[in-house]
């Protein structure tokens, strides 16, 4: 009896969580004339017209490519710069450790709206506006607090003895970082990578202001501003939403354990 209640609540929870997405999926399969009618809930003739429509122009592919490149490179840079910093904080003698970590954490609290306009002016003056680099530099920086915070706690869990042993064997600090600490913290690094990737894939405000054409426009902006003077292609928006959410769902299913580690690692261990 109690088990039954538990499973019923679990089913309700799952329905609540994925229901909206499911509805978007159903919407994306409806023909235009069915979109604004309810009932029926389900499409009479499920159709892929909206999916075909969004992939017909090259615009959408280009936007996906922009997002993929920006998010991957951001992940790469954030991990490289962040892990170096975390290594320095966790394994090397550093003065002002607590101060630096506090500073890094406080930066994660900066409201984006406060930095977006000066950042925009700077990016424009160095000629990077509407390029991938505008977003990559910005996202890398704003991912650093999270990266440093998680990785520092992961690195600290590695016993110092390993590090000392490597130093005695003649490794420079960088070699011991690269050869010993990094490989041993692979799970932590991986967890961080997923979080940074998802953050960069989803970010909206900076992308909205720093990009303006499909040369660098990313997915969230493209979805928010689907082209049209009067007509709004709801079916296509639904199809696009489902398409760009699919990779994230695969990530979540494949790596939910790592994601949870990353999320809790960032908060709990701090």
């Amino acid at each position: 009896m109690r088990k039954g209640l538990l499973y019923i609540s679990l089913i309700l929870v799952i329905f609540y969580s994925v229901g909206p997405l499911l509805w978007q999926l159903i919407t994306s399969l409806k023909m235009d004339y069915e979109l604004t009618r309810i009932p029926p809930l389900l499409p009479e003739n499920p159709s892929l017209v909206h999916y075909i429509a969004i992939f017909k122009g090259r615009m959408f592919l280009r936007v996906i490519a922009n997002s993929a490149v920006v998010a991957s490179l951001t992940t790469l840079f954030a991990l490289a710069i962040g892990s170096l910093c975390s290594f320095g904080l966790a394994k090397l003698a550093t003065r002002y450790k607590a101060l630096i970590l506090g500073f890094v954490l406080s930066i994660s609290m900066f409201p984006p709206i406060a930095t977006v306009s000066p950042l925009y002016l700077v990016i424009r003056s160095i000629g990077l506006r509407d390029t991938w680099w505008a977003l990559i530099i910005t996202y890398t920086t704003f991912s650093l607090p999270l990266t440093i915070w998680i990785l520092t706690s992961f690195f600290r869990e590695l016993p110092d003895e390993i590090y000392y042993a490597a130093r005695v064997d003649g490794c420079t600090p960088f070699q011991s970082y690269y050869r010993i600490v990094l490989p041993l913290s692979a799970p932590g690094i991986f967890a961080t990578a997923i979080l940074v990737f998802i953050f960069s894939w989803n970010e909206f405000l900076y992308a909205l202001t720093l990009t303006s054409t499909q040369a660098s426009r990313t997915i969230p902006v493209a979805i928010a501003l689907f082209p049209g003077i009067h007509e709004i292609p709801w079916g296509e928006i639904a199809a696009a939403s489902v398409t760009v959410t699919a990779p994230l769902i695969i990530l979540v299913f494949a790596f939910q354990r790592r994601i949870i580690e990353g999320l809790t690692g960032g908060a709990v261990k701090g």
């Binding site: 929870v13 710069i81 890094v104 409201p111 984006p112 894939w201 989803n202």
Partner: protein, 284 residues
């Protein structure tokens, strides 16, 4: 010692980048907020604190501040209650845990813009599925009372997974012996929760509160895409207002002043929470 010299080289790149991309803009935005700067007309003059004085008389600013505070308070408490319930549920023994967790995480992973579009569609007063399922005729996004609550409900849906996952981690740290001991003393489920669970996950709740409050106070994309601030600015938050002033009417000076105010508010909230938590947030 040599080691600390090396440490500088490891830490410096990150700090330099942070300074260049976050600290410099903050200083610049404060500088801009002291100017009257209208981009399109090429006007730029120093006006001291005039923008801030004007802000005190700006009804729209106070409205936006009120909306933001209300949004933060309601959505954070909603997420906390729902997240706690979800965490307690997921902490029970059942098969398919990984699957359920992944399902629960989905709203968190979906881009906010996509969720806003999804909910806008569901909230449609004419053919939206929400009214259909509930059998109501609520004008979700067009009614001055409902619109802000609709935005809050969406935010709760989107961020409850994050809260639940953190609280679940907190729950899993509680030693099971504590429960059995309390049960032997004759504590019912409610008292168990009240006297064992709650005190033990209190630190985690505080951490969640600080993260979520700061996030909710900065809310931009959810509202910007869902309602654009309407009707009658009843859903306009500080970030949305600042964005409109900065980028739609291009009053860079006044918009910067608004942005500075958001910055100050967030800082005050953070300091407040850290005060409450004592030194718990300080790195171990």
């Amino acid at each position: 010692m040599k080691r600390s010299e090396a440490a500088t080289w490891f830490i410096a790149p990150a700090l330099l980048l942070l300074a260049a991309v976050t600290i410099y803009p903050i200083i610049h935005v404060i500088y801009l907020s002291l100017h009257r700067k209208l981009l399109i007309f090429g006007i730029s003059e120093f006006v001291g604190l005039q923008n801030f004085l004007f802000l005190l008389k700006d009804g729209r600013f106070w409205g936006a501040l009120g909306n933001t505070a209300y949004f933060t308070a309601l959505s954070v408490s909603g997420e906390l209650i729902l997240g706690l319930a979800l965490a307690l549920l997921m902490n029970k023994a059942f098969s398919g845990k990984g699957f359920v967790r992944a399902m629960v995480l989905i709203p968190w992973a979906i881009p906010t813009v996509v969720s806003a579009k999804m909910w806008e569609w569901m909230y449609n007063g004419d053919f939206g599925i929400l009214n259909y399922l509930l059998g109501t005729k609520v004008n979700w996004l067009g009614d001055p009372f409902w619109a802000l609550h609709a935005a809050i409900m969406m935010d709760v849906w989107k961020t409850t997974p994050f809260v639940a996952i953190l609280l679940l981690a907190g729950l899993q740290l509680i030693p099971p012996d504590l429960y059995s001991a309390a049960r032997i003393d004759g504590a019912g489920p409610f008292r168990l929760f009240r006297h064992v669970t709650l005190p033990l996950i209190k630190p985690m709740i505080l951490i969640v509160l600080i993260f979520r409050s700061l996030d909710a106070f900065r809310v931009f994309d959810a509202v910007y895409v869902l309602t654009g601030g309407g009707p009658a600015n009843t859903t306009e938050t500080l970030s949305v207002y600042a964005y409109k002033v900065l980028f739609q009417t291009l009053q860079i000076g006044y918009g910067s002043a608004l942005a500075v105010v958001v910055f100050i508010c967030v800082g005050l909230i953070a300091i407040g929470f850290i005060g409450i938590m004592g030194r718990r947030v300080a790195y171990r």
